[in-house]
């Protein structure tokens, strides 16, 4: 069987982002395999926007995505954990004061 050898397994993986409407950000919707950027875009259109889910598409090679490591999630995001004063809810406002 010519199956695996010439199958999608050898094609690079692409991450797909869709802008649902003008004025909104592109949002990650999933991934797919394609031999090149052109086909990745066409496949993304067919797989992820069959019901007018988007007005714009991005495809990005998955290998190009630089991600933080889940194992160090704690220490990596730790600096923000004890800075409650960055949120408005940290402050007490006297009764009756408005528009603050």
């Amino acid at each position: 069987m010519s199956g695996g050898a010439s199958g999608g397994g050898e094609w690079p993986l692409w991450e797909v982002f869709v802008r649902a409407r003008r004025g909104m950000a592109h949002v990650h919707v999933g991934s797919l395999h394609a031999p090149d950027a052109d086909l990745a875009l066409r496949n993304a259109r067919d797989v992820y926007t069959r019901r007018q889910e988007g007005v714009s598409l991005w495809v990005v090679p998955s290998a190009e995505v630089v991600a933080s490591t889940p194992d160090v999630r704690g220490s990596f995001f730790e600096p923000a954990a004890d800075k409650d004063y960055r949120h408005p809810t940290h402050y007490t406002v006297p009764d009756g004061v408005q528009h603050l």
Partner: protein
């Protein structure tokens, strides 16, 4: 495992959890693409242009569902080529329902109404599955499934209001697809040894029998609306339980079909392998084109 948090691809996870997920997601993906066959056979014979366009859209959706799910399985570190290889070699299964033939146009209606209907009951709880990529794929799939079920219901509704012959055709399709649809929920809880573990891992939220009961409770009034009967003499409303009582599906038949001895098992798999091999030149051409362009790019 903590049941309140979602597991994402690069998180540490128990090996059994990963293995169970790969098996389940792969089986689910295989079911989507094999499921294109029984209905695909009717595209060229659809009774109107509208029905043909609808059926093509549905079958195309099922291909998309397969893709979402293969992508979800791949996040667990198993390449898609390996999964297809396992399907083609018969090492991984797909849903037993697709091993039944589609003999008449009414079968397309019965599949949409009952088979997609049962799939929805199975899939809705999976939208809250503990594995993120699987849960997100299920959200997309569930959104698309409801049109599948409605178009099937509409086909049967139209036939049931047609000539005596059309009506008989609709009834015959329901008679043949009812029990295999109930079998889609798997063996009874007592014979489903993996259920407990899957529920503890948050992969499954309800047992096979719970989902089967839910499906029957939904389908009985819908059959009434169609004016068609369900082929179960035991069917009656159980006042005490607040559920429809129904007969026991032939689980020996289910075991036979799962073991590869259903009416269409050999055909489905052979067709799948043939389609994959016949499509090899397209994949090769696309890869060659990409390589040629990549080689040209630096010069341009």
């Amino acid at each position: 495992m903590d049941r309140s948090t979602t597991v994402e691809p690069r998180d540490p996870m128990p090996e059994g959890y990963r293995r169970t997920l790969v098996r389940q997601i792969a089986q689910h993906a295989h079911s989507e693409i094999i499921g294109m066959q029984p209905e695909g056979e009717w595209i060229s014979r659809a009774p109107s242009l509208r029905r043909k366009a609808i059926l093509m859209a549905k079958v195309q959706d099922e291909a998309g569902h397969g893709l979402y799910l293969y992508a979800a399985a791949e996040t667990l570190g198993t390449p898609r080529a390996d999964l297809l290889e396992a399907l083609h070699a018969g090492r991984q299964k797909y849903s037993s329902i697709f091993n039944y033939p589609t003999l008449t146009w009414a079968d397309v209606g019965a599949i949409g109404w009952l088979v997609d209907g049962a799939a929805i009951v199975n899939q809705v709880p999976l939208c809250r599955c503990s594995y993120g990529p699987y849960a997100r794929a299920m959200v997309r799939i569930c959104k698309e499934e409801s049109f599948h079920q409605r178009q099937g219901f509409e086909i049967l509704h139209t036939l049931a209001r047609g000539t005596a012959e059309q009506r008989a055709m609709a009834q015959d399709a329901v008679d043949r697809f009812w029990w295999p649809s109930l079998m889609m929920f798997g063996p009874p809880d007592a014979d489903s040894p993996n259920t407990e573990q899957s529920m503890a891992w948050g992969i499954k939220r309800f047992t096979n029998d719970e989902l089967r009961q839910r499906f029957v409770d939904i389908a009985v009034p819908q059959a009434e609306a169609l004016g068609l009967t369900l082929p179960d003499p035991e069917l009656r409303w159980d006042e005490d339980r607040g559920h429809w009582h129904f007969g026991t599906p032939d689980f020996a038949e289910l075991a036979e079909v799962v073991a590869g001895r259903g009416p269409c098992n050999a055909d489905r798999l052979a067709h799948r392998v043939r389609a994959h091999e016949d499509g090899a030149w397209v994949r090769e051409a696309a890869a060659a084109h990409a390589a040629k362009r990549a080689a040209r790019e630096p010069a341009a």
